[in-house]
Subunit: 430 residues, 2 copies
Amino acid sequence: MLLHPSSKSWLLSWMAAPRDRVAGFGRMVWKVGADDPRRVVHGLKVALALALCSVFYYVHPLYDFTGGNAMWAVLTVVVVFEYTVGACLYKGLNRAMATVAGGALALGAHWVASQSGKEFQPYVLTGSMFIMAAVATFSRFIPTMKAKFDYGVTVFILTYCLVSVSGYRADEVVFMAQQRLTTIAIGAFICFAVCTFVFPVWAGQELHVLVARNMDKIAAAAEGCVEDYFCDPDADAGEKPARRALSAKSNGYKQVLNAKASEDSLANLAKWEPGHGKFGFRHPYGQYQKVGAAMRCCAYCIDALAACVGSEAQTPAHVKKHLAGTCLALGRHLATVLREASGSVTSMTRSDRLGLVVADMNATAQELRDKLRCLATVLEEGEDEISEAEHEQNAVTELPTPPLIEALPLFSAASMLLEVCARAELVIGA
Amino acid sequence: MLLHPSSKSWLLSWMAAPRDRVAGFGRMVWKVGADDPRRVVHGLKVALALALCSVFYYVHPLYDFTGGNAMWAVLTVVVVFEYTVGACLYKGLNRAMATVAGGALALGAHWVASQSGKEFQPYVLTGSMFIMAAVATFSRFIPTMKAKFDYGVTVFILTYCLVSVSGYRADEVVFMAQQRLTTIAIGAFICFAVCTFVFPVWAGQELHVLVARNMDKIAAAAEGCVEDYFCDPDADAGEKPARRALSAKSNGYKQVLNAKASEDSLANLAKWEPGHGKFGFRHPYGQYQKVGAAMRCCAYCIDALAACVGSEAQTPAHVKKHLAGTCLALGRHLATVLREASGSVTSMTRSDRLGLVVADMNATAQELRDKLRCLATVLEEGEDEISEAEHEQNAVTELPTPPLIEALPLFSAASMLLEVCARAELVIGA
């Protein structure tokens, strides 16, 4: 059967569409792996841990030892293995504690139930399970429990139910519980070993790098915004130019705005990690959260600054140029301070230069304040000389406000910065 | 033995400390429950579902039917049961799909391995498990997979490993898999039934309420900030007053800043929910996220506004009072528009008044712009009359900028608002 040319091309395009989608998906997958090769390594690590667990099935003496309960080791590995060491330890320790606690309580309930006679046993068991499950589930809504033991509570309910319910039929409850505990411990041990010794990913270090990188991003964005604002001195004055796009560099702060969730979870997980590298066991991870919060405040300021850059009411160029030099200098100083702070966070040392560059920045900020005051005066006098009658035109030309608007967030950003720096020093000092 | 009075009191305080902590903890727990009684109900629901599952153990014909595999039903309930219907469905469907897919693939692998002879079987099985686990774990880093099937991938690995590994020892793999599927289906069914029919908590509705409430908060904060700024007209002019604290009402916007994570997760979960109440199956939950993003932009502006309120450089009162009326009016209009928008989101109707109040707001904004222009002129003239020489004093008194600084974010907030309103209308229209 011959196809009409147009339907043929339609068929081709129809066949090409899924091919393109597959190719696009392939590119995305490649990008995910190429962006951070540790993700590929993570996949291999999980596979390795599972392969180690499966040895308990295939090798005869080991199989006899676990008695067919090796399933629980596999289950533990799949559920507990996480990307960072902190998350893995958090889940593993939670699981271990919850299993022990749940199992012990369930055995207690079982003993009580067995004392109450065969007839009432199901009611006692179900009743205790009902109460336990309701209380434990509710406790997950309590903030402190949620932050530290959310996963543990789930496992607690699970263990309690399994042991108390299946204990009704099985005769050797204690033996069963003991065997399960052994296999779970084996699974957890394999998990920790693989996670910690094969290319470990530390939540503490991730947090550290994230905070330093965000600081650099804010520095670039602050500098970029100021530059964008003053970049085009030939732009016409009274007219309203089209909304100017920010340069790519200046847009980095937007990622900082949304970094809160990942910072919080990393800091939570990092607290479970043992000492590693330059990080002690009780490294003050809470400080990173504070620095992160201060940086978000900075990012809000930069957002306001960016709105000024994009706003329709632009100052005439000749007014701008009075302040351009100082503002640009202040922007550069700001960026220097932030980069210095980020550098000292990265190297975890108290930088001597930090104090110097902060002093520089404050001097420049003071200079800008003086210039603004001066400019206000100059503009008044200038207008007095030029024309008194054309109020309309005056009002348009006079407006010395946008530079100040532009500058005030800078001031607040600068004061934020000082706060950030002070806090960063706390981190370093700790 | 008689205790010295001071040591006695020390002992008393030492004993009082844990009592206080317990009492404090009790109060917090009570507060968690009283804030949202549905949390208590949720605990009871989980307990109910578990009790229903345990019936399969205690009642003889049912126990014979499931053959001791009722454990899997309990496990499913504990793991799948979540606070909102959307989360429960997401996990349940993911689990079901992943179990079927993992089980089928594992049975296939099992067949291939059994063809290759007893000797190579462990190697084939372990190899296939290794590859599957590595690929599946890696796929969790792909954004689209992560958003929709994160939990499913975990269960997929789990099922695949359990079936393929334990299949090596057990003889009736197919029968086992089938029995497990049945019990898991029973568990999932009990879960859905209890979750959906006993006081359901819909993620869609939660999202809806959250967005509307955040809109109200922003309205209150915008109004509050403007009022705070103009509240104290007797404050002295040239001096720098202490950092003024914002009223409690104005601080509501801070919760909006951090609402992104919960909005995103709710919107993701809501997509799994069937139609309920006024929400159709394909309710445009993505729009809520857009409205939320626009509201966060508003909140950034209000943050800048709040910084102005707290800033040390305050405008003299007599300059402020020129603009106070218009600014307060604009703040009120802004709040009205937001409340109207929130009301129309809540009732899911397109409000006719919305257009009117937006027009009112824009008119007031225009008025404020005119007044600013006028004020600049007035100030110049006034100064010309009073004194020409005292530049220093001039510069201080002249500064008409803070009101404008105060106003410009308002303008941008207002334009944001228009955007929010436009988008809200989209939501309502959809």
